[in-house]
Symmetry: C2
Subunit: 340 residues, 2 copies
DNA sequence: CACCAACTCTACAACGTTGTAACGATCCGG
DNA sequence: CCGGATCGTTACAACGTTGTAGAGTTGGTG
């Protein structure tokens, strides 16, 4: 059985409060007493009971991270970044996964369940939530910070990447190198405020700015952004016979799936088709060829979001007005978009 | 402010204990009372306080999963499987990461910290722990189940893959196809009971059985099994000029890093060099060429481990003697080891 | 030397929950 | 219709910790 303050106090011949004071560095303690207590602590192997501490302070030391499937490497890396940032604040992370097939209602349920778990706060990387669902979040009884999507004027803090600008930059990167028929892989039909919608917008903006036409046949909708989706969509385009000389994939996994299909079809990257992804996953440095991509500032997103959440937790009810932060992105040029 | 049993009790006009009884499905409650209480719970938005529960009863509905870096795709997929299995038992999973540079002492600290969090049990996927450290685990005050490594006669339940046998089968797979100079990537110098040591043993057994010599130059030590390690080790072998016609990588990430370097060097897979990995990651189906690998039975490992842990948690102090389970593996043949 | 301030320590009450023991009410068999 | 068993509910204590209030001691000042 683990020892408690009582055991230590008995052994040291003082009250439990004095032991507590020693542990919490209360200033007014005679050196002799402190030493006695410290010896008793060492002797009993006392460790403070976390549950009791938390009960007293009303905290759990736990935050939830609600996000899509960990099998998606981007989110695994995000989870890693969040856990590292949380650990720096002494927090543990409870991960709750959203499945793509749940839809907005199911997704809100997961968030709800995460809150029910009894955590100090929730980080929420939106997957399918729509603008009109956001109001639901207002009722959350714990601090909530959104990651990764852009929802304007929401009731919560919000840390996001520059989806539109980055997608535009990726597309421009291809255009600058001479590509004019650029396929976009990963669009979701009808979606506007999700990553898919925003990246599609960036893509269209770049085309427009360059005076290039938008061709629906180059933007087949559908997919959950796994490698297999990239492969499927690429095959679909090849089979359709539509002409193209570059690919902007909405994430790296899709890009890699697509690249595989291109190579299988005898097309050379970047000679016949240039391709750029989005996310800057570790593995994009080791593929054949290496993949150009967008570094969306994932680590900074994680750190900022945890920072905000901790602030909100400490602030209690009040706190600053909802903040909206966009972290900077970077175009990472590698072999898959080289000229020639 | 979050509501408590007192608030609910006041609203429902009963004692707090009755509310507690309703929540914990105590059988003897009048339907009318139950309904009153449930309505009050809904009205107040009451959520049990985890810390108080833990303090009183020692249960939290939380288990820890201590494991290496999520960036390692194998572990991300394992975490997913564990979370799915845990959810089926109504448990939430707290993930704690071990860093490779922490060493055994740091690793035990993470396990210790995980226990301190106040969880009902711990799943522990060993990274650097050595045989002599295992004794430390005996003192764990909560049930603990080990995953993935083989440590004989430990004090805990243990669910593992057939590292030696699978590695041997992978090597034999290459030998059967005519390879005789097989490089092994991912060995850790001096390690014996970790995955690296066991897979190395399987490799050596296969060579021996086939009457092939063991050549140290084909087994460069070092690495944390990321893609970059595979690339580095492969480059090292190429630079050394030693002859080889096949590669057995100790995991898929290493295999993919190595494959990239081979192709860069103008070697064709499988024509010039055959290559097989280990883990059966999703992406091995989409690389160019597709990667032959070992399916180590990851999902079954996760399910079995959670099963064992739940049993131990419910059994309390006693329970069955420590169990040792090995799940079956499978050689997955793809393009990278084709003949010709 | 009286008195106030600072120092050192302690008793007690909470935090929110659940186990224990016990209460009155109801039901059943004889 | 009485006595014991069961039902439905409650008061109280306890889990291990920390905040509050205050007691006793020491030291310095007028």
């Amino acid at each position: 059985m683990a020892s408690t303050l009582h055991d230590v106090a008995r052994l040291a011949g003082v009250s439990i409060k004095t032991v507590s004071n020693v542990i919490n560095d209360y200033p007014h303690i005679r050196p002799a007493t402190r030493e006695k207590v410290e010896q008793a602590i060492a002797e009993t192997g006392y460790r403070p009971n976390r549950a009791a501490r938390l009960l007293r302070s009303g905290r759990t030391g736990l935050i939830s991270l609600v996000m899509p499937d960990l099998r998606n490497v981007y989110f695994a890396e995000l989870a890693d970044d969040v856990m590292t940032a949380a650990a720096a604040h002494g927090l543990s992370v409870l991960i709750e996964q959203i499945r793509a097939d749940q839809g907005p209602a199911g997704e809100l349920e997961v968030v709800e369940a995460a809150i029910q778990r009894g955590v100090d706060g929730v980080l929420y990387s939106v997957l399918a939530l729509r603008d009109e669902d956001v109001a639901e979040l207002r009722r959350a009884p714990v601090p909530l910070v959104l990651l990764g999507e852009r929802i304007f004027g929401g009731p919560t803090d919000h840390v996001t990447m520059q989806n539109v600008e980055a997608a535009r930059a990726a597309t421009e990167h291809l255009i600058e190198r001479g590509s004019t028929r650029i396929a976009a892989l990963g669009a979701h039909e009808g979606e506007v405020i999700g990553s898919a919608g925003l990246r599609l917008r960036g893509y269209r903006e770049a085309l427009e700015a360059a005076g290039l036409p938008f061709d629906e046949r180059l933007v087949p909708p559908g997919g959950t952004w796994f490698r297999s989706d990239g492969a499927r969509l690429m095959r679909q385009i090849l089979d359709s016979g539509v002409e193209f000389d570059a690919v902007f994939a909405f994430n790296d996994a899709v890009a890699l799936g697509a690249m595989r299909v291109l190579q299988e079809a005898g097309l050379r990257v970047p000679h016949d088709v240039r391709i750029i992804g989005f996310d800057d996953l570790d593995e994009t440095r080791y593929t054949m060829p290496t993949l150009s991509t967008i570094d969306p500032g994932r680590r900074l997103i994680a750190e900022t979001a945890v920072e905000f959440l901790v602030e909100r937790i400490n602030a209690g009810e009040g706190g600053p007005a909802p903040r909206e932060v966009e972290v900077p992105f970077r175009v990472v040029e590698r072999e898959s978009t080289a000229i020639g």
